[in-house]
Symmetry: C2
Subunit: 348 residues, 2 copies
DNA sequence: TTGTACGCGTTATCAG
DNA sequence: CTGATAACGCGTACAA
């Protein structure tokens, strides 16, 4: 039946009554307050156990003005990077007795604003955010800041005062990838990436451009494809590439799913990888290791990012450190060279 | 600085004072109670807006004995199936003004028990669980049931009274897969699967066995590999297969990641797929489409499972239906035949 | 239509 | 070492 009623909860008053002591004594015993005798503590705990007592967390929250809940807002959950990041956060949070409450912005600014509002209503102790694809206006974070709720961005970050960013050096990672491709003899390199309002994509685009310039190759807008980096976008990009003349000899893609999809489609049309076109992706998604050839990528460890973000926020909340909340933390990322980009040197 | 203080929150008392009305009037106005004049309602809402009022959710929870929070406990977050399932739950929950709080059991029974305890402390309105790999003892769910908190399992379910299960027909799915392999001329079929204490794996094992028997092939324990279905397990299984004599001519694996890893390793050792060995996986993970050959699999749509689970729980919570909580919901799954198992018929 | 007063379960303060 | 009491912010019976 739908309307089975919940059992009424046991409170500290019930325990107090059963033991003929005061509620305060019970409260203190339960948290091992130093000024309570071991004997009383034991007695109370036993009774609590016996009666199936469970502390009421709202009442606690109400009194302490703290929830031990961390809010997490991400564009979408089901990418390898994001689910790993969340896994990392959950791990650290759990270890520190924090809970995690999750919301997706579905890559849209309006849902993101709604999620922020919801998180504030939940009175989360802190907020972790990775921005939606098209968020331009950042005013929905104003209340968070004004209100004094610590705010940390990761991956797709905002440049706000009073918030911390956790990122990798996207510029350098892209620079290294593209330089590697050039080293392999590639000179006409397509770059597939996302909305350049997002730091991650603008950073990579800049790295791409600078690597070209530093190697005396010219930069052309025509070789830069901006899309959503989804599976279908990789296919469409492949179509475009097949029709280009002269044909590019390398593709540097901002994520592995799109890179793999693009590569597969090229191969289905007779292109040999890496001989005709070399491929490099981004993220070190497991998928990059299972395709043939395996694709060169940038190791961007979501689990670790998540752990660092969560630990940082918690340190801040616990006042364990004196690090300002206005800060940027840059994690390492590493170029992983695999077969998709390795070929015998050619004369240019 | 770490100790920047949060702004004190605006309460209904503050609004009441500013407007010179009583707190109850404010409370009622805010929720459009019918017995309040439109004028007052407008006045109050404006003032609330102006003062940046935000209802205190603990106080509400404390009064209403309800949190609008759904607890979700899963073995791990970072598999495609799980993150999709959670994405689906989040979507439905959000639409119905529920929040989702997530915890991982990391595939161990003890963490699972801890998570359950944590969820009860949070006073979640309902609990969604997919069991850890090795959970045998189910007593940590007793309190949940006694307490009257609705409990729904999905994928890896428990056979408890007073809880709902959302599953697919694992037996039938496996039966169909294996029958297909047999149709393709395979007769010596290895099955790689997980702990058969879990319904999903025992169901698939039974389907595998029955398909063999129904096609007059013998069942042998030697062809069944039980492991954790991770990437490395696929490799190890491949090693074993390479050393078997006579060599199997097909492998039916209980998940795609393991299937792909096994196939790749076989290929690296000169086995041709599907000619020498046919492969079938499970889940329709994106990875199954990107490898070569693409692998035959069972479409098991995590997003949809998540949506159904969450919707069901919410219906129950809202009393919108009269469906008993003791129930099993079986969703469709579909065999997807791809190149990894398709070969010209051979004489047996 | 609005106001009063109390309780939800805890914890902190102050007194003994 | 222990007890009484007052909040925390909101909702709701009951009164007016």
């Amino acid at each position: 039946m739908a309307n089975q009623s919940k059992k009424p909860d046991v409170t500290i008053y019930d325990i107090a009554e059963a033991l003929e002591v005061s509620p305060s004594t019970v409260s203190r015993s339960l948290k091992e307050h130093p000024s309570i005798s071991k004997k009383t503590i034991r007695k109370v705990r036993n009774q609590a156990e016996k009666m199936g007592y469970r502390s009421n967390i709202f009442a606690q929250n109400l009194r302490r003005q703290k929830t031990n809940i961390i809010g997490v807002i991400v564009p979408r959950l089901n990418s390898h990077f994001m689910s790993s990041a969340i896994s990392g956060m959950e791990r650290v949070a759990n270890k520190n007795h924090y809970k995690i409450i999750i919301s997706q912005s579905h890559e849209t600014a309006s849902d993101e604003a709604g999620s922020v509002e919801m998180m504030l209503e939940q009175r989360v102790d802190g907020l972790i955010v990775s921005l939606a694809y098209n968020t331009e206006d950042m005013t929905h974070f104003d209340t968070v800041i004004e209100q004094g709720t610590p705010l940390i961005f990761f991956d797709r970050v905002a440049e706000l005062t009073n918030s911390t960013n956790v990122v990798i050096d996207n510029y350098q990672a892209a620079y290294d990838s593209v330089s590697h491709l050039i080293d392999q003899g590639c000179s006409r390199i397509v770059h597939i990436t996302g909305n350049t309002s997002r730091n991650v994509y603008s950073g990579r685009l800049n790295g791409y451009r600078q690597a070209l310039l530093d190697h005396e190759l010219s930069f052309s807008e025509d070789l830069v494809f901006i899309n959503d980096l989804q599976e279908r976008d990789g296919q469409e990009a492949a179509e475009k590439i097949l029709q280009m003349d002269p044909r590019p000899d390398a593709v540097f893609v901002s994520n592995d799913v799109c890179a793999v999809s693009c590569m597969t489609h090229l191969q289905e049309n007779g292109i040999r990888v890496p001989r005709d076109i070399a491929i490099a992706g981004f993220n070190n998604d497991p998928i990059s290791r299972f395709v043939k050839p395996k694709i060169t990528t940038v190791d961007y460890d979501g689990q670790r990012v998540g752990e660092v973000v969560a630990q940082n926020l918690i340190n801040h909340l616990e006042g364990d450190d004196h690090i300002s909340i206005t800060n940027t933390i840059v994690l390492n990322s590493e170029l992983i060279i695999r077969a998709s980009s390795q070929r015998s040197k050619q004369t240019k």
